[in-house]
Amino acid sequence: MTKNKLRLLLGVFALGTLVSCSKDEPETPVIPNEEELITTLKWQLISVDNQDTLNFLFRDLDGDGGNAPTIETMDLKANTSYSARVQLLNELENPAEDITEEVSAEAEDHQFFYQTSMTGLSVSYADSDLNGNPVGILTNLSTTDTSSGELLITLLHMPNKFANGVAAGDITEAGGESDISISFNLNVKP
């Protein structure tokens, strides 16, 4: 039995007391820089014939929080071709960060899908990644008859872009996780 060892032990206890009594309130947490968050999807359509520019916005500034997003309804002209471009933004940052750049930098791991049951509307891919598979940031749209319905835009992260039908825009076999999934109401007007 040595006094030293007792002292050592008392030291351990004392250290414990010190540590455990030092704080009462948590320090102010660091508000994370949510640079990954996508708050806004901007879909820009330019009609091929007269260069009319249309912008449609989905915006949800609080992310998964309780305030509902705003979604604009799309009005397109019948029998018209458009070239379309998707832009993703994080508007919590100032200035807003363009997330589309991250997506095109990892084009092999991303793909947009455009799904609709409307007969008067077709969407085709107008871009490709290094493997020659579509990405879907750029698309061509064409309308025929007047109609209305919904268009679902999905962005998949890490899909299997070589799976059956995926390159043609069929999402069934793609896998991956949805980073974006937005339904727009769409009217094709005369």
């Binding site: 102010t28 947490p29 508000i31 994370p32 949510e34 930098a105």
Partner: protein
């Protein structure tokens, strides 16, 4: 530390000195008796490593070793159904020993109730011995415990799970590691407790009414992970083990060394585990590998007679892969996944690599104990423990952020305790303590994501007493405790712009328990356990907000939740009409008022990733009740039969709906064939075991994304034996789990939404004692 083995294998050393023996003419003789029945144990092996000499006990349990030389002697006593027992003697004269082995029916690895252990008197209890744990060396804690009656596991994947005891898990049961209540991120169903079962000497489950001695949120049951008894031998001894598993191509290395050195008693143990993609009956589960490194150090020192110091440190470090196909973005992803036979990303090849999604967790535990014995009946114990739990979870993220954790939590926990125990002249045992706990939970700001649970500092003050006494036929155990809790919380709003919100909560939790047992006849015994306990809402139940991958929904806490009140009554009988039969039956009922649960809301919340169901933490009145039955038959001869059945039902009585995530009913059965020896092989054992899990039918279709999986039946085979080779004793076993390689899914495994559970697994083990 308190170790049941000290009691189980009570060893009386009746050293009788006759004549001063001549050198190498010394005789060691003795009797080997059953701890419970005091009957002779026949055919037990007594072997001396150092003298290369052995004997078998005869029909009276008697053995002799003759012509031994003076000096140090190590004896290893082993018998079927018991863990081998080592004895060290410094031999000077003829010696007679009385050795008691616990030879209770060990079927399905259960050890019977022992009274008068701290915190466990009269509580219905089941234990796993170190030997049984080592035969499941590749499994996590919850899976190892699953063979016990009344237990199940919940998790995400086969080896990322936590134990469920009588329907409760997570915050509602306490895991006590080496006397310290395990402190980590218990709220997550996929957060496996950071405890390596291989480091334990035994693991017990106490299904009592109130865990009076432990600070924490348990509503009754406790899982006790206890170390081995410290060595009594002045030489360095140890054990090493290697384990291989075909499923996942897992390997485990585990070793320990220990010694009662003149100046200190010490033990050092470590384990390394590595496994890769697990396999279902027909395909690999991609990214389900696991890497683990664990180490523990025990030091014990006795000064004079009255003072004793113990130091314990353990580090558990693990990297756990989660099924690649189980990370999904929204409900339609889940829908697509549910419709598939094989999960997305399934590969033809096996791989050891662990990518996102994965968890990386480190858990440190340091415990210092100072014991002061006033006299043999009174003593003090001062404990300090520190735990640091660092958990990082990695998801698949854009722009190379997958290497940045999506969740990074660091939790410091300091615990202080001053215990006092006394034994009165009338044999009343008194235990009491003052306790203080400080928990500091901190989100490491590296994620770039809003934290799921907030930063908080929680301080808890507690005190308890327990009083028990054993009469000839009666035993009584009463206790009560009270805890006062102050939580200071700093959370970040999920509205825009983000801001810090501070909250201060105080809670007061009383607990009380009463247990009575009565021995009607030698064969029949009954116990009644009554307990009241209260649990304050956990931090996630109060403040979680946001998308939770685990439920594919948005979880919203409610800062106004109050305490849960639980009353639990359990009644159990054991009947052992003769040495061949043993029956046990237990029933319990547990009404819980203000039971906190996740209630799906009508609203679907629209986000940029699609629409998500919203779940809100609410309170309601719940009722759990269950029955557990066990029968063991041990006729003359090498065969032994065991069976158990457990039934459980949980209801939300206010809403008139079932509780979710309640373990389905199950039946375990096993036949053992045991021989004392075949040639040089000792303790030869064969076992065929069967586990049948019923379908969970007590659930409404609206309560889950998909109906619970159908019932399934698993068969396993095992053979084990021991052999003396030179100076050392080796233990071998081979085991096949899911022998028929059936495809099945388990209700409590979240991975069932995406993939089948594990197919056949053949494991081989090799153990060495030196």
């Amino acid at each position: 530390m308190l170790n049941p083995k000290k009691l189980f294998f009570f060893l009386a050393l009746l050293a009788s000195s006759t004549l001063l023996a001549q050198k190498c003419k010394i005789k060691v003789s003795g009797n080997i008796l059953d701890l419970k029945s005091n009957q002779a144990i026949v055919n037990a092996t007594i072997y001396s490593n150092d003298r290369q000499q052995g004997a078998l006990s005869d029909s009276q349990g008697y053995f002799e070793l003759k012509n031994l030389c003076e000096g140090e002697l190590h004896l290893l006593i082993s018998h079927i159904g018991c863990s081998p027992r080592s004895i060290y003697i410094n031999l000077r004269a003829d010696t007679n020993l009385t050795i008691r082995l616990d030879h209770s029916n060990e079927v399905l690895n259960e050890v019977a109730v022992q009274a008068d252990q701290a915190g466990r008197a009269l509580a219905p209890q089941k234990s796993l011995s170190a030997e049984k744990i080592s035969e499941n060396a590749g499994s996590d804690l919850a899976t190892v415990l699953e063979g016990l009656n009344g237990l199940a596991s919940i998790g995400n994947g086969a080896k990322v799970s936590k134990p469920v005891v009588q329907g409760l898990y997570g915050n509602r049961i306490s895991l006590v590691n080496n006397g310290v209540v395990h402190s980590g991120q218990q709220w997550g169903n996929d957060h496996a407790p950071e405890i390596d079962p291989l480091m334990a000497g035994s693991i017990s489950v106490l299904k009592g009414s109130a865990a009076i001695e432990y600070m924490g949120s348990s509503l009754g049951s406790v899982v006790l992970v206890e170390p081995r008894a410290m060595p009594t031998d002045p030489h360095v001894h140890g054990a090493a083990q290697y384990h291989y598993e075909s499923n996942g191509r897992g390997q485990v290395l585990n070793a320990r060394v220990e010694q009662k050195a003149p100046w200190i008693i010490w033990r050092l143990a470590a384990s390394l585990k590595k496994s890769g993609d697990q396999k279902t009956a027909s395909y690999y589960l991609r990214n389900t590998g696991r890497e683990e490194a664990n180490t523990t150090l025990h030091l014990e020192k006795r000064y004079a007679k009255k003072w004793q110091t113990k130091l314990y440190y353990s580090l558990n470090s693990s990297k756990l892969g989660l099924l690649r196909g189980s990370q999904i973005g929204n409900l339609s992803d889940l829908q697509l996944a549910l419709e598939r036979d094989e999960p997305f990303y399934t590969q033809e090849d096996f791989s050891y690599s662990i990518d996102a999604p994965r968890q990386e967790v480190q858990h440190h535990l340091l415990k210092a104990t100072q014991l002061y014995t006033i006299d043999k009946d009174h003593g003090f114990e001062l404990n300090y423990s520190w735990q640091l739990n660092e958990r990082q979870e990695f998801d698949l993220r854009r722009a190379e952020r997958s290497s940045r954790p999506a969740l990074s939590l660091s939790q410091n926990n300091h615990f202080w305790e001053l215990k006092y125990h006394a034994l009165s002249a009338q044999k009343w045992h008194w235990h009491s303590a003052l306790q203080y706990n400080l928990r500091d939970n901190y989100n490491v700001p590296e994620t770039g994501i809003l934290p799921l649970v907030p930063d908080y500092i929680s301080r808890e003050w507690g005190a308890f007493f327990r009083l028990h006494k054993q009469w000839e036929k009666w035993a009584l155990d009463v206790g009560a405790r009270a805890d006062y809790i102050v939580q200071n919380v700093a959370s970040i709003s999920n509205s825009s712009p983000r801001e810090v919100i501070r909250n201060r909560n105080t809670f007061f939790n009383p607990k009380a328990s009463l247990a009575l047992s009565y021995q009607f006849t030698e064969a029949l015994k009954a116990n009644v356990n009554l307990g009241y306990s209260q649990r304050n809402p956990a931090i996630n139940e109060l403040y979680s907000s946001g998308l939770h991958q685990g439920v594919s929904g948005i979880e919203e806490g409610d800062p106004n939740l109050g305490e849960e009140q639980s009353f639990k009554a359990s009644f159990d009988v054991s009947y052992r009409p003769n040495e061949h039969w043993n029956f046990e039956a237990l029933s319990f009922v547990q009404p819980i008022s203000n039971f906190i649960y996740l209630q799906p809301q009508q609203e679907l919340r629209l986000t940029i990733r699609g629409a998500f169901p919203v779940f809100q933490y609410q309170q309601s009145n719940a009722l759990l009740h269950g029955i557990e039955l066990q029968a063991n038959f041990d006729p003359e001869g090498p065969l032994r039969f065991d069976a158990n059945y457990s039934y459980l039902k949980g209801d939300n009585r206010e809403e008139g709906i079932p509780l979710v995530f309640m373990p389905p009913n199950r039946i375990n059965a096993a036949v053992n064939y045991q021989l004392p020896s075949i040639g040089a092989w000792e303790k030869v054992e064969f076992q065929i075991a069967n586990r049948f899990i019923f379908e969970q039918k007590h659930l409404l279709p609206s309560q889950d994304f998909v109906a619970p999986p159908p019932s399934y039946n698993l068969v396993s085979l095992k053979a084990s034996a021991a052999r003396q080779i030179g100076q050392n004793r080796w233990h071998f076993f081979i085991k096949a789990d899911n022998l028929f390689n059936i495809a099945y899914r388990d209700y409590l495994n979240r991975q069932r939404y995406f993939a089948n559970d594990l197919g056949i697994n053949i494991s081989l083990g090799l153990g060495l004692k030196f």
